[in-house]
C-alpha cells in the first residue's frame, strides 16, 4: 500500500498539516516538520513558496514572502524533502504550490526530482484538469499522485473531470475563497463530502478555515481527513525559529481531536 493510502487506512480520520517550506528559514523547516510528525500528523503538506500566491490569504501570503526573503530556492525545498524522507520513511509528504515554480524547468524535471526526494503527491493550485498536460502526465508516470481540489463551485457535471486522473486523496476546499479564517457551515461540508464520496473511492480530506481542535473534530466526523494550514503557519510567524515546540503541542491537540472523532471501517 502506498504511504498516502496507508495514512487514510488507520481506522480513523487523518490529520493533514500544512506549513510553508523555508519559513522562517530553510534551516528551521526540518525541526518544524519533525514537530508535525511527533504531534501526530498523518500527512505532511509542504508549501512551495511563490512570489504571487494568489489563492492564499494574509497568513500564508506572509509565510511565502518570509521564506523567499530568507533566500529559499527550489533546491532547498527538494533537499528538505529528501532529508525528511530519510528521517521519516513512512510519513507521506505532499508538495503544494503554484504552477510556475513547478513547471519552469519542465514537468519531467520536476516529477523526477519529486520522485528522487521521496515526495508522494503534488497539489498545484492553478493547474485545473483543463491544463493537466502541463504537469499531470509527467507526475503520474513518475509514480507521484496528482491531488486535485474540489470546491463548492465544482458541480455534479464537472466533478468527473476533476476526479479523472486524481490519485492519493481528494482535497475538498470547503469555502469558495482563499486560505485563512473564513469557515464553511458544517452542514454544507457534510453534504459536499457525501456527494464527493458517492463519486469516488478516494479518501476525502477537507480544508480551508479549519483552526481549532473543536472545528477539526466536527469535520473529522463527516470526512476522511482534515487539513489545517493557516493556524499552524501563524504559529510559525509568531515563534519563528522556536516554532517547533508550540507547533508540536498544537498538532497534538488537533491530532487527538481528529483521531478520536470517529472510527472508520477497514476496507
Amino acid at each position: 500500500m502506498s504511504r498516502l493510502a496507508n495514512a487514510f487506512s488507520k481506522g480513523r480520520p487523518a490529520l493533514v498539516t500544512f506549513v510553508t517550506a523555508g519559513d522562517p528559514t530553510p534551516d528551521a523547516t526540518p525541526a518544524i516538520l519533525d514537530a508535525l510528525v511527533e504531534g501526530g500528523a498523518d500527512v505532511i503538506e509542504l508549501g512551495m513558496p511563490f512570489t504571487d500566491p494568489m489563492a492564499d490569504g494574509p497568513a500564508i501570503q506572509a509565510a511565502n514572502l518570509r521564506s523567499l526573503a530568507a533566500g529559499t530556492r527550489t533546491a532547498d525545498i527538494l533537499r528538505i524533502a529528501t532529508d525528511f524522507r530519510a528521517r521519516h520513511p513512512e510519513v507521506p509528504l505532499v508538495l503544494m504550490g503554484y504552477a510556475n515554480p513547478m513547471t519552469i524547468r519542465g514537468p519531467e524535471w520536476f516529477a523526477a526530482e519529486c520522485a528522487r526526494a521521496g515526495v508522494d503527491g503534488v497539489i498545484c493550485v492553478d493547474i485545473p484538469p483543463e491544463e493537466d498536460p502541463e504537469l499531470g502526465p509527467a507526475l503520474r508516470s513518475a509514480g507521484i499522485a496528482l491531488i486535485r481540489l474540489a470546491t463548492p463551485t465544482t458541480d455534479a457535471k464537472r466533478l468527473p473531470t476533476v476526479l479523472q486522473d486524481t490519485s492519493g486523496f481528494l482535497y475538498y476546499v470547503s469555502v469558495a475563497g482563499i486560505t485563512g479564517k473564513q469557515q464553511a457551515a458544517l452542514g454544507s461540508i457534510e453534504d459536499a463530502v457525501a456527494r464527493l464520496k458517492s463519486a469516488t473511492e478516494l479518501p476525502v480530506a477537507v480544508g480551508f478555515g479549519v483552526r481549532t481542535p473543536d472545528q477539526a473534530s466536527a469535520i473529522a466526523k463527516v470526512a476522511d481527513g482534515v487539513v489545517v494550514g493557516s493556524a499552524l503557519v501563524e504559529m510559525v510567524a509568531e515563534w519563528g525559529p522556536d516554532a517547533a515546540g508550540p507547533v508540536r503541542e498544537a498538532t497534538r491537540a488537533l491530532a487527538d481531536a481528529v483521531h478520536s472523532a470517529k472510527e472508520i471501517g477497514q476496507q
Binding site: 500566491p53 501570503q61 470546491t151 469558495a176
Partner: protein, 404 residues
Amino acid sequence: MNAPNPNSFRNQPDERGHFGQFGGRYVAETLMPLILDLEKEYKAAKDDPSFREEFEDLLEHYVGRPSPLYFAPRLTEELGGAQVWFKRDELNHTGAHKINNCIGQILLAIRMGKTRIIAETGAGQHGVATATVAARFGLPCVVYMGATDVERQQPNVFRMKLLGAEVIPVESGARTLKDAMNEALRDWVANVHDTFYIIGTAAGPHPYPELVRDFQSVIGREAREQMLARTGKLPDLLVAAIGGGSNAIGLFHPFLDDADVKMLGVEAAGHGLDKQHAASLAGGRPGILHGNKTYLLQDEDGQIAEAHSISAGLDYPGIGPEHSWLKEIGRVDYTSVTDDEALQAFQLLCRTEGIIPALEPSHAIAAVRKVAPTMGKDEIILANLCGRGDKDIFTVADALGVKL
C-alpha cells in the same frame, strides 16, 4: 461564406484558449466553472446582434467613437522620413483606449446577471474606465490598486472615488499592478456568485485575452478603413506600446493578414534592459502567472521579478499571450525603449503637434522617432496614441526636476 483560411494569423486562440503554446486557463478550481460560463456567454453575445448594437451605440455616443485618424505634419517633418499618423484614442471619454474594453465587459457582466464589479489597475486608467462604466450602469465597483501606485497616481484615485468606486490599496509585494491583480483574483474566488472581474488588458485566463482583443479591435478596424479612405492604401508600419498588450493587439489584429503591413510592439525598458525594466518579451521567458502561460520576467526558479517603468501602465512583468505567440511566429516585431527615451518623446509630441500624450504611448512615439528616419517619405507609419498625458504631468514634472 468564405472557407476559414488555415494560414490566417487571425484565427487564434484554439478551443482551449491557447495561442500556440501560450494562453490557457491556469486558475484555481473555484474559478474554473465561472470561466467556462464566461466563455459560453461570450460566444453567445458575439452572435447576438443586439449585444453588438448596444456595444456600438455606447462606443459612438458615450465614448465618442470613431476616434480621429490624424496625420502629424510637424513631427513627420522633424523626423525627416516616413509620414507619421496617429490613431487618436486619447480623445475617448476617460482619456484612453481602456474604455472600449470596459464597455464590452460590463455588457457581458449584465448579460450574466452579475451585480458587483471588480478590477485591478496600475496607472489608474483602467480603474477610472471601470468605475465609469460601473457608474453608468449603476453597479457597485471595487478597484484594487497597489499602494505604491495609489501614491503616484493620486488624481486617478480621486477620480475613481468621485465615480463612486471603492479603491483598495494593496500592500503586498512591491505594491504595484501585479499585486493588485493578485488581490483582485482573491476577491473574485471569494465572490464568484455575484461578481464580474473586468480585466484591464489582453491577458489573464481564457477567454479574457480573446474578448479584450475583440473589444479593442475597434481601434484597428476603424484605422484600417480611415487610412484606406484617406490615402487609398494601407500603412507600412503599425506601432503601439505594450503593457499587457491590449491597445497594441487592438490596433494590430485587424491588419494581421495584410502581409505588407509590418508591426512593431514597444515594451518598457525602464532604466535599461540590463537594469530594472518591464520588457517581458525582451528579458523574460515563458511561464505561468495570472491564469495564462506567457513571457514573464522571472528567475531560474520561476519566482516572478518586479518590473519597473516610469509609466505605471506598463509596469508589469508579463504580457498578453497572443503577443508571445506573435513574437514566436515572427509576425510582429518587438522592441523596447527606456524611461528617458519615452520622456523625450513625450516632450517632442507636445512641442511639434500640440498633443500631450500619456507616458505609455510616449514609448510608441520614441520607437517611431527611431524608425521613421530609416523609412522613405512615401511610406506610412501609424502609431496608436492610446492615452492622454494629463494623468502624467506630475510624474513628468518630477522626472524633469520641476516642482509643481
